[in-house]
Amino acid sequence: MVPRLFFSMLAFLTIIGAVLRIYWLADTQPTGDEFYTIAEAFDYMVRGHYGLEMWHHPKLRDIFVFLAIKFFGTNAEGFRLASIVFGILTIPLTGLVARLLTRSDAAALLASFFMAVDAIHIELSRQAIQEVYMPFFLLLGIYLALRYRDSNNAVLLVFSGVIFGLGLASKWNVAIPLALTLVLLVCQGLKQDGESAFEKSKELLLFFATMVVLPLTVYILTYYPWLLHRGYDLGEWFTTQKIMFAENLVHQGANPEMLQMQDHNPLLWFVRPVGFADFLMNGNEPVVVLGVSNPFVWLLTLPAVGYLMFHVRKHDWRHLFLLALFWCSYLPFVLSRRLTGANTALTITPFAFMAVASVITTLLKEKPHRNYYVTVYIGLVVLIALPLYLLAIGKGYGTILQPILELYRPMHER
C-alpha cells in the first residue's frame, strides 16, 4: 500500500472514531465518577489533597481535568476534553504502532478500525476519568522508541521517556510496556555489531537516562501540588507511594454495589463479552452508560495470540515484542487476586487488536477472495458495534437493548 493511501485511510478511521466519541456528548450527564473526579481535580491542584475517587492512583488526571476546566469551562466538552483528545488520538497511534510491529499496512488499518469502533474505549473516551490516558501514552511512548530505533535520533527517545512518564502518572500499569520497551532497546543496543564496549555503554547510559530516570522524574513531578501546598517532602512522598501501592493490591472500589454489577474477572476479558457500566439520572430518567466488548474482535484475541506464539519462529523480533507486550500486560491482572474492572483492559486491547489484525491479514494474505472475506468480517464487526455504540453513549435504556442493560442490574433490584 502506498504511504499516502495508508495515511489517508488512517485519517478517515480517526475521523470516524472522533465522531463516535463526540456525538451526543454535550447531552450526556456527568457520571458519579466524574463528579468526584472534578471535585478532586480542584482539591488536588488548589490545596494538594487527594480525594476519595481512586486516591490510590497517580494524579495526572487531576492536573488535566483541572486545566481543561480552567481553559474550556465546566461544559461537558471542557471537563472531558483530555479524555476525548487522548481517546481520538489513540486510534491513529494504534495503526502507527501496529504498522511498525506487524509490517503490514492492512493489519495496521484493521487494528486502528477495531480501536475506532470499540465500545468500551468509546464509553471511557467520553468520561473525565483516566482510563483512556494509558493506551494513548503507552502507544505514543512505544512509537517514539521504535522510531528512535530506526532513525537513531535521540530526541525521539527523550520524548518517549517523557511520554512514558506521563503514562505512569496516569496509572502504574504503563510501567510494563515501558520496561519491555527498555528491554528491547537494550537487547538491540547490545547486539549491534562494530561498536566498542565503550560505545555500547554510552548508549546504555542514554537508555537508562531516558527510559528510567526521565519517566520517573516526570511521574514524581506530577505530585508537585501535594508538596507545594501541603509541605510534604520526597521522603514523605515515598511513604505515601507505599500506602498507595498497598491499597492497589486490595482495592475493591468505593461502592460495593458496583462489584455485583461489573465484570471484575480479567480471566474472562477475552473469553466472553465483558462490560463496564455507569449509572446516572437525567432528570427523572435513568441513563445507563454501558461499554461491552465486541465479541467478533475481543474473542479472537486468545486464538490470534496463540497463532502468533505457535508461529513465532517464522516471525522477527517485532511479533515477539508484540506478544511480550500482550502477555506481560495481561498476565499480572489474571494472576492478581484483586478485582479488576473491564475498564482496565484498555491497556491491553491495543496489543490484542494488533494481534487479531495481524493474524487475520496473515491468514487471508494468499486467499483468492480475501477482500470479500475482509468485507464480510468488517460488516459483522460493524453490525455488532452499532448497538454496542448506542449502549456506550447511554442511548440503550428503554429501547430494544434494555435486556442487555438488565444483565447489569444489581441482584437486589431484580
Binding site: 530516570v213 509541605g231 510534604y232 517532602d233
Partner: protein, 243 residues
C-alpha cells in the same frame, strides 16, 4: 559523544528538578521560632475553646505542619460542603476552587487543620484506656498509623519522637487519666521541639469535665515555671470565617 552528554544532561536535570521539588515542599512549611521544650523557656498559650486553638494557628499563619495533640477525642468529624441540592459541575468547581469552611468546633478542628493545610500530619496521643477502647486492641501495640487518603494520622499513648518542630496542643480531656505533674515530667523528658504550645481548657466541649479542666489549669500553673503563659483571645476577624 553527543548521546553520552545528553544522558548526563538528563540525569543531572532530573536530579536537580527533584532537589528543587523537595525544597519546594520543605519551604512550604511555615513555622515560628522553635523551642526545645525540655531545655528552653518557651511561650505557651492558655486557650479557652478548642476552636480558638485553630484560630491561633491561623493567626500565626503556620502551614504544612506536624500537630501533636494530646486528648481523649479525635476532633476529626468531616464537615459537609456549603452547597445543597443536586450536584452541578459549576457548583462543585466553585466549592472546591475556593475551599471554605464556615466555622470550626471541638468536633472537627483537627480535620479542618488538615483540610486547610495547617497540618500535614497529626499525632494524637490518647490516654491508654481510650486508645484500647477506640482501637479494640488486645495487643501491646501502642502505635497505630492510618492514612487519610495518603496523609498520615498516628495514634499513640505517649509523646512521640518527632525531629522537626511541632504544633503541640494539650487538651483538657487528656487529664482524665493523668495529672499535671506526670504530664509535665513526660514533657520535660521528651525531645519535642515546638513553636506553638497550647493548653486548651475545651470550654466548648461538653464531654470534658470540670475536674479535667481544673487539672489543666494546674498544669498551666506548673508549666509557668518553664514557659511564659499567654492567655489567648482570638481576634474577631479570624473567628468570623476560615479559608
Amino acid at each position: 559523544m553527543k548521546n553520552f552528554a545528553l544522558a548526563l544532561l538528563i540525569i543531572a536535570g532530573c536530579a536537580a528538578s527533584l532537589i528543587v521539588l523537595n525544597h519546594v515542599g520543605n519551604t512550604a512549611r511555615v513555622q515560628g521560632r522553635a523551642f526545645a521544650l525540655a531545655r528552653e523557656r518557651f511561650p505557651a498559650y492558655a486557650v479557652k475553646t478548642t476552636g480558638d486553638v485553630y484560630f491561633l494557628w491561623q493567626e500565626q499563619r503556620v502551614h504544612g505542619r506536624i500537630v501533636v495533640h494530646l486528648g481523649r477525642f479525635l476532633h476529626f468529624m468531616e464537615a459537609g460542603h456549603s452547597s445543597g441540592g443536586p450536584p452541578q459541575i459549576a457548583t462543585i468547581v466553585a466549592d472546591h476552587e475556593h475551599f471554605t469552611i464556615e466555622r470550626t468546633s471541638y468536633k472537627d478542628f483537627l480535620w479542618v487543620a488538615f483540610q486547610t493545610n495547617i497540618a500535614r500530619g497529626i499525632y494524637t496521643v490518647l490516654p491508654p484506656a481510650d486508645f484500647k477502647e477506640r482501637f479494640d486492641t488486645t495487643q501491646p501495640q501502642k502505635y497505630i498509623v492510618i492514612h487519610e487518603y495518603g496523609s498520615p494520622r498516628i495514634f499513640t499513648t505517649s509523646l512521640p519522637s518527632v525531629t522537626e518542630p511541632v504544633l503541640l496542643n494539650i487538651d483538657a480531656s487528656y487529664f482524665a487519666s493523668t495529672d499535671a505533674a506526670r504530664l509535665m515530667d513526660e514533657l520535660m523528658k521528651s525531645g519535642l521541639k515546638a513553636d506553638i504550645v497550647t493548653i486548651c481548657l475545651a470550654e466548648d466541649n461538653p464531654d470534658v469535665t470540670d475536674l479535667d479542666r481544673q487539672k489543666a489549669r494546674d498544669f498551666i500553673t506548673l508549666l509557668s515555671a518553664h514557659a511564659d503563659i499567654v492567655n489567648y483571645k482570638p481576634s474577631s476577624r479570624l473567628s468570623k470565617g476560615i479559608k
